[in-house]
Symmetry: C2
Subunit: 348 residues, 2 copies
């Protein structure tokens, strides 16, 4: 088999895993969301894509379920019973969706999963309050779970949420700074907190539910974090060079928005003429299509594209190394590897 064949087989494997995860986790997730008080439930049901704004059922799907799949796969890899971790998987997905609801408010994003965001439909106050309730619901689900790992999992998820908040806060703060005022280290730390932390937490919760020891739990967390960072790097590359037909966004959307994504910050800090050109372009109030093309070209010539690709590969290598600390026989960790490959190879 060539490496492309392997990747395709792994993607197919991941797609099956995600399907299976949704089959198991969605009923738990939905039953939990349905316990919310009426007016809050409506916002949550809309956000998950299960209802339209008027409360009529829709055929929508509540995201790809990557984080729940990581919880279940991590539990399985460490010899646990994945079905005992379904509540934990649903809790992680609830926490993830709480961040989406609030991030959309903070970033004033109009669209999520090809639909108007909840705050544009129900107003900022109701979306904010629904997010709060969803976070409380996530931690309640774990606090009410009778599994012996539930308390440790609950503490870990709560700590992770604080880290997610720090990541989101840093992201907002970076937006307000000038082109040279964000270092690559700060940017990597932000991406680790905003994206890596919850993928790490998902894996750690799976390990906890398998009864793993502290070192295995820590290694699983590190696996998820490194894979999460690789995912963010690829996502940032797609934000610049992604195919508009596949991403559903105009080409170079992140550049037009002057987003300080990882390849951009690497280019800005490169000390090259192309980096200086990019800084000049980012100093302008807006970029037209030609400006976006020039900026993308400048990121590439400044080495931002190559750096991000190499860094993503490096992070994936570190992820696998961490995984082998938790699961010495990597054949038992095939699902986790397939999921990590899936999130870093996705094209949109």
């Amino acid at each position: 088999m060539t490496s492309t064949d392997t990747a395709t087989a792994e993607s197919r494997g991941a797609a099956v895993l995600l399907d299976r995860t949704r089959t198991v986790v969605t009923p738990q997730l939905r039953a939990t969301v349905e316990t919310l008080p009426g007016s809050i439930r409506r916002v949550a049901m809309y956000h998950f894509g299960w209802e339209d704004p008027d409360g009529r059922p829709t055929a929508g799907q509540a995201g790809k379920a990557i984080r729940p799949a990581l919880v279940l796969a991590a539990a399985r890899a460490l010899g646990g019973e994945p079905h005992t971790a379904v509540r934990a998987a649903a809790a992680v997905e609830l926490a993830h969706n709480f961040t989406l609801l609030h991030d959309d408010i903070v970033d004033e994003d109009p669209t999520r999963r090809s639909r108007p965001t909840a705050w544009t439909v129900f107003g900022m106050p109701d979306a904010l309050i629904a997010g709060d309730a969803m976070l409380a619901l996530a931690l309640r689900l774990l606090a009410e779970d009778r599994h012996p790992a539930a308390a440790a999992a609950s503490a870990r998820l709560a700590a992770c949420v604080i880290e997610l908040c720090a990541g989101q806060q840093a992201d907002c703060a970076f937006e307000a700074r000038g082109p040279h005022e964000v270092s690559l280290d700060e940017c990597l730390a932000m991406a680790t907190a905003k994206t890596g932390a919850l993928l790490g937490c998902a894996c750690a919760l799976g390990a906890l539910y398998a009864g793993a020891g502290e070192e295995e739990v820590a290694a699983m967390d590190a696996f998820g974090r490194e894979a999460g960072l690789a995912f963010q790097l690829i996502d940032d590359l797609i934000g610049i060079w992604g195919d508009p037909e596949r991403t559903g966004k105009p080409a170079g959307a992140d550049l037009a928005a002057h987003k300080k994504s990882l390849p951009v910050v690497a280019a800005l800090g490169s000390g090259t003429p192309a980096g200086a050109e990019l800084a000049e372009l980012y100093g302008r109030p807006g970029l037209d299509a030609a400006g976006v093309r020039r900026a993308a070209d400048a990121v590439e010539r400044a080495g931002g594209r190559d750096w991000a690709q190499a860094e993503a590969a490096d992070r994936m290598a570190r992820a696998v190394q961490q995984l082998s600390r938790a699961v010495p026989d990597l054949t038992a960790a095939g699902d986790l590897l397939a999921l990590a490959e899936f999130v870093t190879r996705r094209t949109r």
Copy 2:
């Protein structure tokens, strides 16, 4: 002793209790808040009154600590060791302050504890994110506690937060409705969720930390809820007839803002000519000083003032009845009674 003497003695007792609570709980609360990541910590330290917007220490005080005092007093009343419940008391205070941070955003309130609200100082996004982190921190504090009651307490606090969210959402929804479109029952349910639930939860957590059984915990919760509703009724009366010198707000501030407080809703639903007059006044876009005086007079003539006073007294009686279910010998519950008297007799 006359009844006024008794009330004064109880207020003095409550003031001492609150002082003692702050001495014990503030160090825990502050140490916990100081674990937050830098930029979020700054917002939280400002909100609690411990720092100015630039991070310089201030002599401010982080609220009266009524909820933590209820946790410790409930634990003591049921034969528990209050010092084992200090973390739980801090968690409840954190959850309370999370609601204040987010309520100020949702209600666009400019002032809290005589200082500019956090969102006006740090911007909406940072205040929203700090509130999220504070909620996660509250539940983390309980999840990390090794007391045998910690898991049950954590589940209870998370469930309470969902109820608080429902109350806040209902409060917002009522603001948008016309004068006759909110029933007194809806308004009482909203106040129970928004104010009673957390006072009830504080008492229930104290009971849990004393190792109390389900029935005692439920009775303690009911005691806090009823006392909380009495508190809200008194607060609403103060919002109309409070002395501006003591409340720090102009006379009839709630009427000028067309707030659908409990005495107002009772008056609107009275079916009296004065109730109709009030509805007419509330139908106008704004009220000047003379209009506010006429509205206050209409609430009184429609029976809203008398009803709220009688209802508050009734709720306090029910609170004491519930308390006697949890603590048959009420002499052991003196602190709880003193706190309940304090919150319902306060003049601002």
